[in-house]
């Protein structure tokens, strides 16, 4: 489903942040991506959500070589991907409801459907009482839940999350991990970048990629998965 072959990434004329990345993510799989800060987790995620173009190598997503697809096809691919950014990236002038509804509006869904889905999800993530609140009046944890709800509202085929539970207490964190797990069981491929080892251990049945000194190791065998990274620092 998603295949990286000899992929490298460099920003401008700087050194390569990612070197010779090779891995395959099977449809419906669930992975953790772990490693020290600055190892390139966010850069790898940006390649996956098509925020960056690899400087070399071959990336295949949903059966399409992203180096050979048109801009329109890239946009269609992006709509299949949900992303939880580390800094949330909520739109400050939109209410929590409108932030979560944004991907549905971009997809041109009717307003009635948007209202139903968003209200239901907001209740589920415990934000039912904060529907009309602007992000700057929400706590860090609440903002994070808005960001997570926004990433899953379209039931994406691939969910990428960068430290999605960083600001959440254990209970909410586990609940949201449960949401990711549920989405995964519905067929969504999930890749979560996190250094919350406690959380990762609780979901220890999922394969874990660990970055160490520019190299990676897989903590448990998983067929077809190889991973190599160079430390950017």
């Amino acid at each position: 489903m998603i295949r990286f072959e000899h992929v490298g990434l460099r920003y401008g004329i700087g050194p390569e942040v990612l070197t010779d990345i090779n891995f395959t993510l099977e449809p419906g799989s669930f992975h953790f991506l772990s490693g020290p800060s600055g190892a390139g987790k966010t850069s790898l995620l940006s390649l996956l959500y098509l925020g960056q173009t690899p400087t070399r190598g071959l990336v295949t997503m949903f059966g399409q070589n992203i180096g050979q697809i048109s801009r329109e096809e890239r946009k269609n691919l992006r709509r299949k991907i949900g992303v939880v950014f580390q800094d949330f990236r909520l739109l400050a002038h939109l209410s929590a409801f409108d932030n979560i509804a944004l991907p549905l509006r971009i997809n041109g869904r009717p307003e009635r459907e948007i209202k139903e889905n968003v209200d239901e999800l907001m209740d589920w993530v415990g934000l039912g009482d904060y529907r009309d609140m602007l992000p700057n009046t929400l706590s860090g944890g609440q903002q994070q839940r808005v960001a997570i709800a926004r990433s899953v509202i379209t039931r994406p085929r691939l969910l990428l999350a960068d430290e999605p539970t960083g600001n959440l207490d254990d209970e909410i964190g586990l609940r949201l991990m449960g949401l990711f797990d549920q989405l995964n069981r519905m067929g969504t491929t999930v890749l979560i970048a996190s250094h919350n080892t406690a959380l990762i251990e609780k979901f220890g049945h999922h394969p874990k990629l660990i970055l160490e000194d520019g190299a990676t190791r897989l903590d448990k065998p998983y067929p077809g998965l190889k991973y190599k990274m160079k430390d950017a620092s």
Partner: protein, 313 residues
């Protein structure tokens, strides 16, 4: 509703859905665009009105003497010798007879002495002075409409009748004035083009700066898979309504200035300026100007946004 919306917002609540995914509604940069478009509309209204006035003047002057000419029976012979009243009267009669029988001429009118005195007395003084100087003969000619006539032929014939008879078709001074008003009209058109170009550049610059300010938000929409059209539509709408507001204000001010100028200039007794009444087409043109400028702003915004988005991966 407006107050409630902003009161709620200050409390961190947003009950009404926003018009735009980008925070354009609260964008102070929009005011700059609005003022600029307002000024451009104001200038455009004045330019267009000036152009309309010049067109009316051209038309008025051209139509006033169209198919018309004047025959003057001068008071002196070509050698400078003064002619008697009787000679002038006789030459006037001969000219009248010739003109009456000319196939191209519809009608003629010989001005009476009283009319001539009335015409030239402002320059030469009262009626008493006129008793002592010979008056020229003046005949107004109306040609048949649409007849292609050769004034030189008539002028030559009149010279044969009397060497002191001169035909004035007004073409000399009229062509000079028409050339002058034509030049001014050309300048007005150029000014209109410059205003249009300035509007396009200003809108493009304003939209570019908005996109630079909201680069993160644009990138987020882009990463969510928003189509270029989806994003550009928002900025198009923003540019359209901002321009519409600005140009509407500019139009109102422009109209007020024109009304004032019309009232002020309308008090002159020169008779050179035609009554400034706009045709239906001209009124519609001026009323549509805000819409035209707004559509222009919208299209400019679209091109600017699409060019910007094409640079994104």
């Amino acid at each position: 509703m407006f107050i409630f919306k902003y009161k709620n917002r200050s409390l961190g609540i947003s009950k009404k859905p926003e018009k735009y995914d980008l925070p354009l509604e609260k964008d102070k940069g929009g005011r700059f665009l609005m003022i600029l478009i307002g000024l451009m509309t104001f200038l455009m209204i004045l330019t267009l009105s000036a152009s309309f006035i010049l067109t009316a003047m051209n038309k008025s002057w051209s139509q006033g003497i169209e198919n018309k000419a004047t025959v003057e029976i001068q008071t002196t012979a070509p050698d400078g010798e003064s002619l008697s009243k009787e000679d002038i009267k006789a030459a006037t009669k001969r000219a009248k007879d010739y003109l009456n029988n000319h196939p191209y001429i519809e009608s003629i009118e010989v001005m009476s002495d009283a009319e001539i005195i009335n015409l030239i007395s402002p320059w030469l003084g009262g009626e008493n002075i006129m008793d002592n100087i010979p008056l020229p003969g003046i005949i107004s000619i109306n040609f048949h409409e649409g007849v292609v006539n050769d004034p030189n032929e008539i002028a030559t014939e009149l010279q044969k009748i009397g060497p002191n008879i001169r035909l004035d078709t007004h073409q000399g001074w009229l062509s000079d004035i028409l050339r002058l008003t034509g030049s001014v009209q050309f300048a007005a058109i150029m000014m209109g083009l410059i205003i249009t170009l300035t509007t396009v550049v200003a809108v493009a610059g304003s939209i570019q700066s908005r996109m630079a300010v909201y680069k993160d938000e644009l990138e987020l929409l882009h990463l969510m898979g928003a189509s270029d059209r989806y994003i550009s539509r928002q900025l198009q709408r923003y540019a359209f309504f901002t321009a519409l507001k600005g140009s509407f204000i500019g139009m109102i001010v422009g109209w007020l200035v024109i009304v004032f100028i019309n009232l002020y200039a309308g008090n002159t007794d020169l008779g050179l300026l035609p009554n400034f009444t706009l045709s239906y087409f001209q009124i519609v043109s001026l009323l549509l100007l805000p819409v035209i400028l707004s559509i222009l702003s919208m299209l400019t915004s679209k091109q600017t946004v699409l060019r910007f988005l094409r640079q994104m991966p």
